[in-house]
Structures are given as C-alpha cells and as structure tokens.
C-alpha cells in the first residue's frame, strides 16, 4: 500500500466512528489549548520583561555599590551612632526602579578610583542625583518632572526620535510619551526637535531654568520611569543644584562600572569577585531582574504541568479509542492481511489514525487558544493593563505552536503504538474466524 493511500485510509477510518473520535479529540483539545495558552502567556510576559531589561542597555555594565555589612548591623544593638566623620545624610538616590533602593554607604572618590583600577573595568560613573521641579513648553503650563538618574545607561524604548547622545555637549531630553498631551504636542513626531524648559530649585532655594532639546519620545516602561537626560544636561543640573557651594555635591550610592568590551561570562565573574574582595557588590541588570523571570518561569511551569496532566489523560483516551477500534475491525485487519498487506503497513495504518486524532485535537486546541488569547490580550490591553505599554500578554511564537502540535502528535503516536502493534500481530486466519 502506498503512503498516500495509507494516509487517506487512516484519515477516513478516523472519521468512521465519529462520536468516539470526537471525544478523544476533545481530550487532546483541552491539553493543546492549555499548553498553548500557558506557553504564550509565559512567552508574552518574559518577552515584555526582556524588552524592558534590554531598555537598560544591560550589556557591559555593572551596577556597583559598597557591600552592606548586614552581619555587623545585626550585631549592633539598634541604629549606628552618628559620626560626623563617616556618616552622611541618608538621601536615597532619585528615580524609582529596582536599582536604587539599597541602603548602602555612598561611594567616596577613593572608592571610585579603587573600582576603576580593577582589571576588566574601563570606566566608572557615579549615578548623580538630580532633582527637577517642572517642565514646560512656550505654550503649555508647567508640569511636574523628574529625570531618571540612570538614563546614562538606559536605552529607551523609543516611540519615535533617537536615543540620547551622551557625548554631545548640547542638552538633550528623552520625553516620556505621557507628557505629549500635557505639553500640547500634536504627536510624538511633533515633539522631537522642539525645545522644552526645565525648572529646578538649588540647595539655597533659588530657582533655575534650563532649556533642552527633545531628541526622542519613549514609551513608559516597567523599570525606567521618568524622563531621560544626556550627560551634558545631567552635569549641568547637578552643578546648578550645588549652587556653586564647595562640597555640597552628594556622593552617589551607586556607580555604573563600564566593562571592557567582549568579556566572557567567566571574566565578568572574575571582575565581580575582585569587586567583592575590594568591598563592593556588583550586579548586572539581569541579576537584579533574575528573580522576576524566575517567578514567571515558575508560574508558567505549574500551568504547563496542568496541561501535561490533561495530555496524559488524553493519551489513555487514545489508547482506549484505538484498542476498541482494533477490536471492532479484527475481521477487516484479517482481510487486509489475507490480501497481502504487511504487518508493518497495518502498524503504520493504526499509528497514522492515532496521529490524525492527535493532529486534529492539537490544531483545534492551538487555534482556539490563539483566538481566546488574542481576544484576552486586546481586552486587557484596552482595560486593566493599559498602563503597561508594549505588553502583549499572550505571545504566540510559531516555533512553540509547532512544538505543541508536534508534542501532541508524538504523544498520540506513542499512545497508538500499543493498539497498532496488537493489530499488526494478529494472525490473518484467526482474525477472519473472529465472530
């Protein structure tokens, strides 16, 4: 029997007992649907997180801070006594983001030199704290405004325009897109190239205004909130803040260490170890976000486990369906064998029937999951998740869709193997005598 005929016969046979096939397909459908939707959910959320993390330009950058001596703190009874020599006023660095919160000692100039001297580090920039009050355009009112101190290492999720040029001497800002309407821009493109005025108050209470050019409009993101400013603007704002008073510049808690290019993971680990020996803790941005991704992977894993349980149940359904089918068709099998159909062909025929059931179940399941997932994505994006721009909750990747179909077809094939080999082993004459 030729392969085409084998396939055609298998498909036709699958539909001979419609109710039974439908029920088995239904079981596979549930598995395929769950598996597709959870995989897509995991992919959607991780892809969102990844884009967000990438917006940090995490490559070749370490975030360094003094190691907080937790054990020493624990041994002390209560808070440490204030010492004018070593203690600094505790002013947490501006800008939300998971990167700031640590309660570490500020880095001194000596610290920065030590860090810069470590092999593999090409440069170090303390994260400067800048505080701004408002922003406006010629025609608009003033709106509260803060500059993300990490914009020096951030690659913005651009809606339009260009990234900040940190080597430029002109003042540049990256404007979050939720400012567009307030500042009376018609569109994001309209904003790019125009000038905005930034107002701030220095430590003496005097106010200053700085004008800067909008070079790009960014989408709001999970980790990088606030506007971005290039190095020239950050330096200007920081020096305006000290109002020319010597020593008023606060030391940074966090510094950004730039790694030499093309370091291997092992080399980066070495740098981290060296830093640790010198009394600093260093993390890549991925390290800091690792916990988030781990949690997401965990949740996806649990959901997928449910899908697998559904599939295992479905596999028994296939075994049962086909065993009944083999039983029912004993004579037919005997007849085909009597007419010279080889055992391997009989095996192939029944296996193909199993695979057909698998393919139908998985295709319907995957299709339904895509419909439901896209619908949910759109509904949620318009409603509760509107603030998370660029998030498509369900991401249907072709590779994983094909993977689901292949996996389920493989499960179907394996389940079909027992009934198929039982059919293949039947002696023709016994099958023909079967009443």
């Amino acid at each position: 029997m030729k392969a085409v005929d084998l396939a055609r016969t298998a498909v036709a046979n699958t539909f001979r007992s419609k109710l039974r096939t439908t029920l088995t397909v239904l079981a596979l459908f549930v598995g395929a649907f769950t598996l597709t939707i959870t995989t897509a959910l995991g992919a959607g959320v991780s892809s969102y997180i990844t884009t967000q993390v990438n917006s940090f330009a995490a490559e070749d950058v370490l975030l360094v801070q003094a190691t907080t001596d937790l054990t020493a703190a624990a041994e002390d009874d209560g808070p440490a006594e204030w010492d004018p020599e070593t203690s600094t006023s505790s002013n947490s660095q501006a800008g939300g983001a998971p990167l700031a919160g640590a309660q570490a000692e500020p880095l001194t100039d000596d610290d920065l030199d030590t860090i810069a001297a470590i092999d593999g580090i090409s440069g170090i920039d303390p994260v400067r704290s800048v505080s701004t009050d408002w922003v406006s355009t010629d025609s608009s009112a003033k709106f509260e405004f803060s500059v993300n101190p990490q914009s020096a290492v951030t690659v913005a999720d651009l809606e339009t325009g260009a990234q900040l040029d940190h080597s430029a001497s002109d003042f540049e800002v990256m404007l979050p897109n939720d400012y567009l309407e307030a500042l009376e821009f018609d569109s994001a493109d309209d904003a790019v190239g125009s000038e905005v005025t930034i107002g701030m108050t220095d430590i003496t209470g005097a106010t200053h205004e700085v004008t800067a050019e909008v070079v790009g409009v960014s989408r709001s993101s999970l980790f990088a909130s606030g506007a971005g400013a290039n190095n020239a603007l950050v330096t200007e704002l920081a020096s305006l803040r000290t109002a020319g008073i010597e020593g008023a510049d606060e030391n940074s808690v966090i510094a950004i260490a730039y790694l030499e290019s093309e370091l291997s993971d092992a080399q980066i680990e070495q740098v981290t170890a060296d830093l640790s020996d010198a009394g600093f803790s260093a993390q890549t941005i991925e390290d800091q976000l690792g916990i988030v991704t781990t949690v997401i992977a965990g949740i996806t894993g649990v959901l997928n486990a449910f899908a697998i349980v559904a599939l295992i149940a479905a596999a028994f359904g296939i075994v049962n369906t086909l065993l009944m089918s083999v039983q029912e068709r004993t004579r037919e099998i005997g007849l085909m064998k009597a007419m010279g159909m080889g055992s391997s062909r009989i095996f192939a025929l029944f296996s193909l029937e199993a695979v057909t059931i698998g393919v139908i179940g998985s295709l319907i399941g995957v299709g339904a999951a895509m419909l439901v997932g896209s619908g949910l994505s759109t509904a949620l994006a318009a409603g509760p998740l509107a603030d998370l721009e660029g998030l498509s909750l369900f991401l249907f990747e072709p590779a994983s869709l094909i993977g689901v179909v292949l996996l389920i077809s493989a499960i179907a094939f394996v389940s079909g193997a027992l009934p198929a080999s039982r059919a293949a082993r039947q002696r023709p004459i016994e099958s023909l005598r079967y009443e």
Partner: protein, 246 residues
C-alpha cells in the same frame, strides 16, 4: 522440487500439499483438524473440496492459500516450499496470485462497493486512477457497475457475493479460493454465482479451489476431494494421476 514428480517434463503443480496435518490445542486435549493430507492441483484445474461440517475443508483451504501454517507437512506453490518464502514474498503471492471468497462476505459495510473492490489493488500499491478503472471493469462484467458508489451495506445478498467475487478478481489472480461461495445465497442467485466462477475457470484458465458441502456444485467441478475427520477419503482425480505415475 519433488523427486517423485509424476510428470518430470511438465511444469510443477500450481498448488501442492504434502503430508499436511493441523492440530489445535496442546497434547492432552489435542484436536486433529487435518491429518496427513496430500494433494496436488494443476494450474487451470477446478477442484471441489467437500465433506461434512467440521471435516476440515476450510482448514485445508487456508493452508493451501498460505493463510495459516501447518503443524506438519508442507505446502508447495509452483514447486516452491512456502516456508522458504519471506513474509514479504508470501504477502505478494497472496496479493497478486490469489483471490479469496470467504465463508462470510467480509465487506466493509460503510464503504462503497468500489472501495471494497479496490482494496487488493490499493494494497498492491496501484495508482488511484488505475485502481478505479480496473475495479469498474470487473464490476461491469459482474453487472454491478451501477452499484459502484453504493455503500456495501445497502446491497442484497447476491449483490454482496458478486462484490466479493469482483474483489477476488480485481487483482487478476491465477487461483481463486472460494469457501462456500453459494452458502449464503438462494438457489437462483447461487446458480448465477456458480456460472460466473466456472466461466472464469473456462475462459481465463483461473484455477478454482471451491470448498462446499453442496453436492451439485461439487459435481460441476473437474474433481472432487472428499474429507472426513480431517482425512481425504476420496479424490476423484487421484486414480487417474496415480495411473499415469505407474
């Protein structure tokens, strides 16, 4: 090749049974369905195997058609011991050389007459077009052309039996094994089917091995082999053959 071939120059018999026995069950409750049966059938011969119910007729036919394995003895096809053939070669033999009409119809009820008739051709690996053409041709000669697309379940008994014969003929076999081909039919329809088989034997030289307990049908065959309790008690051709051999 048998050393005691009665016709050294003639081609070997199409089918030959040598000392065939078939037991069922283990030693204690052993049942001998067939004991030491020897028989040789020339190409183009029409042989009736007759005997009471349970005498081993179907068992013998199945062994001759290599559908079953004997407990003792051997079956030779054109002089070749069937046991020396591979499973593949046996499948090929049954598919290309043999046509079967079983005691029951064994039609796939929900499939069309055409699909039922093309089954051996599909197994043979013929292309769809060629299968159709051949099956329609055979159905035409059996007056079933207009039933080609009807479901097998809708046919009358006689139509079913003719469909079964069409299926047996589709592959252009050189031997047709028919087990009670008229057993399920009324005498008029039975006569039509009988005529059909004898015409094929006469005009195409197809070897017929017909199992029956109908004496009239047996009488129309060239030769009658009578079985009783698994042994041949008479073979109408045997004296002639033995006469030649001596």
């Amino acid at each position: 090749m048998a050393i005691d071939d009665p016709h050294p120059s003639a081609p070997p018999p199409a089918l030959e049974a040598v000392g065939l026995s078939k037991h069922y069950g283990s030693s204690a409750s052993r049942f001998d369905a067939l004991s030491d049966v020897s028989l040789s059938i020339r190409a183009g011969e029409c042989v009736a195997i007759v005997g009471k119910s349970g005498s081993g007729k179907s068992t013998l036919m199945h062994l001759l058609a290599v559908l079953d394995e004997p407990s003792e003895g051997e079956v030779r096809i054109h002089g070749t011991d069937a046991r020396s053939l591979s499973a593949r070669a046996l499948n090929r033999l049954r598919n290309r050389e043999f046509g079967f009409v079983f005691q029951q119809f064994f039609l796939n009820a929900q499939q069309s007459v055409l699909d039922n008739v093309t089954l051996p051709l599909t197994i043979a690996g013929l292309r769809r077009g060629a299968r159709r053409a051949r099956a329609l041709e055979v159905l035409g000669t059996l007056d079933l052309a207009e039933k080609a697309s009807a479901k097998a379940v809708t046919l009358s008994g006689g139509q079913k039996q003719r469909t079964v014969i069409a299926r047996a003929l589709a592959g252009n076999p050189s031997v047709i094994f028919a087990d009670e081909p008229t057993g399920n039919l009324d005498s008029a329809t039975g006569a039509i089917v009988e005529d059909l088989l004898f015409t094929l034997n006469r005009e195409k030289g197809i070897t017929l091995v017909i199992v029956t307990h109908d004496d009239e049908l047996a009488a129309r065959c060239d030769r009658q082999v009578v079985l009783r309790d698994g042994r041949i008690v008479s073979d109408s051709a045997a004296p002639v053959l033995e006469g030649v051999a001596r």
